[in-house]
């Protein structure tokens, strides 16, 4: 499958996400520069973590106006798969592709730490490789991850099973203590009604290699790949699997001019 990782000037998890998709998951991956209007025929768009345009205003508030986001919106509206991680989730909220909003973390501090999330709904394109109730260990790193939705919206989200991940403890129990950023109903990841756009605050790309302490994040990428392969039909596992360029400790040049 072909993945596109959007690069805003202040994205800083762009290469991390690219690295995991290409070098760990073995998928063809390209960067999509924020000033471009072309999605290069990708099967899936990933909005990575970072500080899109500095985020001195509300996180993601400016990114939603960028040229590439117009294309991402069109892509999503026509059923394309879009994953927003951390800042990517914030941008999806600002762009109206997902409902609700982010507040500052409840302790008013940036938080970088391992958290546990529970798969609430495994019948989505982003979680089908996991079991319902499965606990994943994936880190967070954000200042504005305290998800908020008004009560009516919240009950809709619950009813439509749009809450895909919730913060929990190591044993899968929901608690306020495990809900470090204070999100309403412990929400860590959210999908749209149509089921093709998912936003999540935890960083699966930081939990996809054993050497970094967890491989649970691969479940999300695996789910997407399986879903796309099934959708493209006939289970023809193409040669893209063999796509393994040499891994360099330093990232390549990004974007065009």
């Amino acid at each position: 499958m072909k993945f596109g990782v959007v690069v805003f000037p202040g994205s800083n998890c762009d290469y991390d996400t690219f690295h995991v998709l290409q070098n760990v998951m073995g998928q063809e991956t390209v960067f999509l520069w924020h000033k471009e209007h072309n999605l290069q025929g990708v099967d899936c768009v990933v909005l990575p973590g970072g500080f899109s345009y500095g985020d001195y205003l509300r996180s993601g508030a400016i990114a939603r106006f960028s040229p590439i986001m117009r294309e991402v919106k069109k892509f999503a509206d026509s059923g394309g798969l879009v994953l927003g991680i951390c800042n990517g989730f914030q941008i999806l909220l600002e762009a109206g592709l997902l409902p609700g909003a982010m507040l500052r973390n409840k302790n008013l501090k940036f938080l970088c730490q391992q958290v546990y999330i529970r798969i609430e709904n495994n019948r989505t394109a982003f979680s089908n490789a996991g079991r319902r109730g499965q606990v994943l260990k994936i880190p967070i790193a954000h200042f504005d991850g305290n998800y908020y939705a008004p009560p009516e919206l919240l009950s809709d989200l619950e009813k439509n099973r749009q809450i895909v991940f919730r913060y929990c403890d190591q044993n899968g129990k929901l608690s306020q203590e495990a809900n470090v950023n204070g999100s309403v109903n412990n929400i860590a990841g959210l999908i749209n009604r149509q089921g093709n756009v998912l936003g999540m605050m935890p960083h699966p790309e930081r939990a996809s290699e054993k050497i970094l302490g967890s491989e649970d994040g691969k479940i999300i990428f695996r789910s997407m790949i399986d879903y796309l392969e099934k959708k493209k039909g006939s289970g023809k596992k193409k040669a893209v699997r063999a796509f393994r360029p040499a891994v360099s400790p330093l990232p390549p040049l990004i974007g065009t001019f």
């Binding site: 202040g10 800083n12 500080f51 985020d55 940036f110 970088c112 790193a141 050497i211 970094l212």
Partner: protein, 737 residues
Amino acid sequence: MIDEKTLADHNLTREEYDLIVNLIGREPNLTELGIFSVMWSEHCGYKSSRVYLKKFPTRGKYLIQGPGENAGVMDIGDGLAVVFKIESHNHPSYIEPYQGAATGVGGILRDIFTMGARPVAVLDSLRFGPIDEPGNRSIMDGVVSGISGYGNSFGVPTVGGEVYFHECYAQNPLVNVCCVGLAQKDRLFFARASGVGNAVIYVGARTGRDGIHGATMASAEFGEETEHKRPNVQVGDPFKEKLLLEACLEAMARNLIVGIQDMGAAGLTCSTTEMAAKAGTGMEINLDLVPQREAGMNPYEIMLSESQERMLIVTEPDKVQELQKIFNKWDLEAAVIGRVTDDGRLRAYFHGQQVIDIPVKAVVDLCPAYRRPARTPAFQKKVTRLRPPEMPSDLNQVFLQLLASPNIADKEWVFRQYDHMVQVNTMVLPGADAAVLRLKGLKKGLAMTLDGNSLYTFLNPRKGGQIAVAEACRNLACVGATPIGVTNCLNFGNPEKPEIMWQFKQAVEGIAEACRRFEIPVTGGNVSFYNETEGKAVYPTPVLGIIGLVEDTALVPAAGFRGAGEVIILLGENTEELGGSEYLRLVFSEEKGQPPALNFDREKRVQDCCRQAIKSGLVRTAHDLSEGGLAVALAECSFQGPRRIGFEVKLNDRIRTDALLFGESQSRILLTARKENVRKILALARKMKVRARVIGRTGGGNMIIWHRRKKVIDQPADLGYRAWKNSIPDYFKIKKS
């Protein structure tokens, strides 16, 4: 005409002024005086320290670039180089903690990417006044938020460092930031304005009136008027810095840069004069072309502004257009402001008039160096005399008290505010002895640590300096790394006082000797003098940053116990030493005695043995012994695993129990191993002439230590953990009244 008051405002002496007149052959105008004043400030000119810094060894096996550039560079093989340096931002962080610390991070990041390296890690060493004072907590909160705000947005992981509290830092907090970058060895860039006729290009943020005379401010003591210095502190913009990083690295990759220098302390002044002086050229610039943030700035302000996120680039005229395209791509402003000349002078024009005309060599290379008088402080004899106090009856209580001491307690409250995982390389997270980064696609990795113990240095500056080096190397040994290069940040009081100068000289000599013995070159660093407020100096605080190379990242042991039933081995010897210990300070309020003894040969053997055992794949956990001694080190291992694991340890040394438990004898490392590997480790130690013994096992819910058949410590691991874990956060809890 320059009067005494103007000279005093510029921190220049009459003799220095006469020298300037002599060097340029006339009286300088005010702008020129300003230029000399910053370049000859202690901060930029190292005038009190230079004669001593020469004692550092600066050659080594892996060395590519030693002192004199923006940062040191080491060769790590596979065509890669590691670029690293430490800087202080102490004065600004006291005046305005958030921005002071943030711009400290920004400054050191630029030093690294100026050389063509991508910053891959930041570590910081922070020292504040006692945490129970709200004022100190507010500074700490601001500093940590500033580091977090800048580093997280920029996208560099803050992977480690240290945090200490002591009365002497209440009005002089120390903020030392170390950055490590990774570059291709054949693509390093230097601060040289080579090629007469080449274009001089200004990129990045516009120049404003912020930070004028920051370097001069950092070269004087603080008095009561410190509040007025707030406008001297710059304001950081990490997003702009990120753009600057990407744009510069792209321009470098496309071969569009001849020389490059960041505008840090002393801004445009420093970058223009240094680049020309290093290349043996001159420079001509038009100040009207410098992008400015506000109207009506005069040449003095433009030259001395310390606005952040700016770079000066020299390139061939035919590459200017392409360079500008790259900066446009990253939404940055780039302006040609002048050209390289051949006459060794810096000439600047403003509104059509020549306002600066000075020889660059005089500014950069002829700053006077002073061998200031040094004298042993009167208190020195008194503090080193120690009559050991009577041993407290309840050592369990002492044990818990130590675990909760802010100097020993868990620092998660601090480091979880830093993004320490971005770039997906961080294998060993903050809180361990040393941070370890994997290098994608390679078997090897990079290890790094910051270390310093100012109480030792206060009691004995020479030995304190030696121990700082030894302990940093020991930290690296605990992750299986071989130390390859050193950077240091030397934080001292007012060098014009002979007692301070003595401390400085002794500490530098100690560090130099230790680096020679460990065969690691000093590649640069930073000296921060005048850490005094109202006549009270900080304890002499050298902070050592050492980089190590890990051969095989798969073998890096954990910092905490990994399971029950593992065997605990102690490398090294327990001796009866209490001087300078956290135990004495905390329990008896005594800051006395000699710091622990250090035998270089023994230290090196212990470290080699640890590294060898790790390389042979025998080690599960490794942790060095430092503040709080053996008992605290065991507890830390117990707390840092995936879950709390107790231990039972039996010791028979014929020394005082408190010295055995809490003494800080050097050259000791704790290891754990699976039962079947214990004999191999002991045999290895015997072969390497290192004392090693099995002292106990992991497991159970309690932390138990026996001394000569008496149970001297028995505490539930959970209880100790809570004391250690909650100590710092509890101070920051909002008290409900």
